[in-house]
Symmetry: C2
């Protein structure tokens, strides 16, 4: 691996933090709402989605500034989905990444509204980005609304809830993950490349790449729930074991899950090779996703 990935990730994280700060500094809204939005936006996420979007942009384009509003909008959507997912009526979680969940730190009503606000604000910041042309804005909004809405992430969430307490096949499991997690990763990869002026053919290869990347992400999540370090993950391991929820290790065994993941890494890299660009960072990020310990 020639890229110094950790340096790359740190520098992009700083850029994301800085940009988030800029967007919230200028947001004039009721104090409690603002605090609740910022609380979850700054709750220690690794910024993987915006980093993927920027890396995909840089495989084709020059100055990454053009990709920033989309990257931050994506992080807002991801964050709103976590806030709503953690609610008592959904996963009923008290902690996330070692901090109180939004509705525990504030209250349920505020958490619902902070989620709604982040979701809506994400479209506002794209539509107001002076660096994007109107046609670019429209294309990004089309992609973002589709991948995060009822045909994308929200569909995945409702299917996931339905599947929670029954056995599902590997095929069903992958459909759920593709919608719930994969769609936003696909948005990251394809939007970055689109804004960097990738061709249709390149975008098709990247879509295939992002499909496998999403699955790698999920298999590793399931694996970490079995063999991960609680202190690093920030939540209890073994939580999947205590319910009927289907996971890769349950369906394939731990070894089977690991070799399945390796297979997906290979397929992801094959797709990436077809993307006809400087893929060193995206390739290194694939390994990072596959081997992450939290």
């Amino acid at each position: 691996m020639e890229v110094k990935l950790n340096d790359y990730i740190s520098s992009k994280q700083s850029r994301v933090e800085e940009e988030i700060k800029t967007y919230f500094d200028k947001l004039e809204v009721p104090q409690k709402l603002k605090e609740s939005m910022i609380y979850s936006m700054e709750a220690g996420g690794k910024r993987l989605r915006p980093i993927l979007l920027m890396a995909s942009y840089e495989a084709y384009g020059d100055d990454v500034s053009k990709a920033l509003s989309s990257a931050i909008a994506l992080e807002m959507i991801h964050t709103y989905s976590l806030i709503h997912d953690d609610l008592p009526a959904m996963d009923d979680d008290t902690y996330r990444r070692g901090k109180l969940t939004n509705h525990k730190a504030f209250d349920e009503a505020t958490a619902i509204l902070a989620g709604d606000a982040l979701l809506t604000y994400s479209f506002e910041i794209i539509s107001n980005d002076p660096l994007l042309s109107d046609s670019e804005k429209v294309e990004v909004i089309k992609k973002l609304s589709k991948s995060s809405g009822p045909k994308g992430m929200v569909a995945g969430q409702i299917l996931d809830m339905d599947a929670e307490d029954r056995a599902v096949t590997l095929e069903e499991l992958e459909t759920i993950h593709d919608l719930k997690t994969g769609e936003l990763l696909k948005f990251a990869i394809t939007t970055g490349a689109f804004l960097g002026n990738a061709t249709k053919k390149q975008l098709t290869a990247l879509e295939e790449f992002s499909y496998y990347l999403g699955l790698i992400f999920q298999v590793q999540d399931d694996i970490l729930d079995v063999i991960g370090d609680e202190n690093k993950i920030g939540k209890a391991v073994g939580s999947d074991e205590n319910n009927l929820k289907s996971t890769y290790p349950k369906l394939l065994g731990l070894d089977g899950a690991i070799s399945r993941k390796d297979e997906y890494v290979n397929r992801a890299k094959e797709a990436l090779a077809k993307a006809d660009a400087d893929i060193s960072v995206l390739s290194a990020l694939t390994d990072y996703f596959s081997q992450r310990d939290h």
Copy 2:
């Protein structure tokens, strides 16, 4: 009043129902999510917001088709806000318009997700409308995200919650209503006129008009809570009396509230007169808002 307003409203309502059906027929999403979204979209709303948008369009433009995606998107946003507002953590309502609220007909998690889905889908349908240019789409999305997000409706909701159990001044009350209700009405009026190619000067007059229209709407809401007919309103009257919530009748007395409303009707019509267009429908709608009994 020369316009046969009831006929106008009925014909526009049919157009809205038809259009909603079209958007949901082609929406391929998980069955339960779709049912929950449709349940609230078809729960007997009067479609006042989309009708206002279309009426405002027709004051300037010809074929109203061009305004339809914005009108339906607006109704989706309004509907999502009602679903989330009714949740146990918010207003905890069991009925709305005489039907079970979404989380009672389905469950809380589904209601949260149906709201999220409607909100997101609203941006998707605007960004995909073949009748709009890219610059029109961007402008509509700017307006919609601003008026419904943390600077608009969501701000109003959080301020409203904070004000629920304490006395507020008339000024605070009007700020809350302007954000919570007025912003979407302003969106309706200005977006319709914008798509109909109104000038900046005309749009400024209409913004003033919509400000008063929002207040009229709210004063009448408060008045109906005192003297309305439960069967027509679809909920118990007198509910405001049983808590500390500030209302126009409480702050000004019933007669004072009525004369305040009349004053706003005059100001709304003065603003409308400056809008330099065929304002007969908008003027009739103002009276309709002011005198509605449910």
